[in-house]
Amino acid sequence: MALVVIQFFPVTLNESDTVPQSDFMIVNQVPATINNQLQVSCYDCHSNNTDYPLYSKIQPAAWYLEDHIKEGRDELNFNEWDTYSSRRKNSKLRSIIKQIESSEMPLDSYTLIHGGARLDSTAVKEIIGYMESLQKN
């Protein structure tokens, strides 16, 4: 019964039609393969636009996801890349590199369902190399 009731609790969806000028891909000339991989592996939780999976229509999955997405976006929002100071960009780049290097990101719970989000060793190398190229000393 509770399960039926909670289906009627709405969540605010993280969806947006427009990509702002401050977006990581617009600010940087990101090579196409890396661009695609980042969109698939990171943007669901680290931008203002989530491509919601089917199971997100069912409560309480929607709440669970909402939490995750909010947390991810607060930590790093690729759409707002250019609003970060250059010091902060460097910090974020470093964290991105560390997280990917140690396979902490993308989250296992995410790649379990979104197979395409998993980064193979080539993708890891490419992304890290690219992020390093953006770092300033």
Binding site: L3, Y55, I58, Q59, P60, A61, W63, Y64, S85, S86, R87, R88, N90, S91, R94, K98
Partner: protein, 196 residues
């Protein structure tokens, strides 16, 4: 028939989710950390300019002091203590008001404080490996802050060539105790610069 199977499947999935989430909910009663944000928005309206300037010096010194305590906790491999001190440092950083400096300095300081606060907050909730990763950038932030605010204390910038391709930190003592390795390699490093 197919729909029935699918419905049952969906319900099973939903039930699993309920279980997962109810476990998670168990922890939700703990007070949320971000409250600190408001606590430190104390206004400074009632203080005149002179007091403010002294006050800002004191706040920069407080940040340094918190930073050194945090460094000592990392030297001692004390994850819990470092968490606590990361939080203390985050509070001190948030109460710093950079508006009393020149425009350029204010903007630079605001960037530094914003970045440093984020690192301090991460330190307050991470394992020791992550704490040390964040401490590296935090150290750079604090060093850059001191370059603008100055400090009364004599400081030593120390450097360990082994950690993460070479990493610096600040210390009040000349004696090298390494916060990135702790007991694993306590003495790794040297003084590379003296401040004051």
């Amino acid at each position: 028939m197919k729909t029935v199977t699918r419905t049952i499947g969906t319900m099973a999935l939903a039930a699993t989710m309920v279980l997962t989430v109810s476990c998670k909910d168990g922890n939700k009663n703990e007070p949320a950390a971000p409250m600190s944000n408001e606590m430190h928005q104390e206004s400074m309206d009632d203080k005149d300019d002179m007091a403010m300037s002294d006050n800002q010096d004191a706040k920069a010194e407080a940040i340094l002091n918190d930073y050194f305590n945090l460094k000592d906790a990392l030297v001692g491999d004390d994850n819990d203590k470092a968490k606590e001190l990361g939080n203390t440092l985050a509070q001190s950083l948030k109460s710093f008001d950079a508006s009393n400096y020149s425009d350029n300095e204010t903007s630079e300081l605001n960037d530094i404080i914003e970045d440093a606060t984020e690192h301090a907050e991460h330190i307050s909730e991470s394992d020791i490996k992550h704490q040390r990763e964040h401490f590296k950038i935090l150290s750079k932030d604090v060093t850059d802050m001191v370059a603008i605010t100055g400090t009364k204390a004599k400081l030593y910038e120390q450097f360990c060539p082994m950690y993460d391709g070479g990493t610096a930190w600040l210390s009040k003592e000349e004696n090298v105790l390494n916060p990135y390795y702790g007991s694993q390699m306590l003495r790794c490093g040297k003084v590379q610069r003296e401040i004051n």
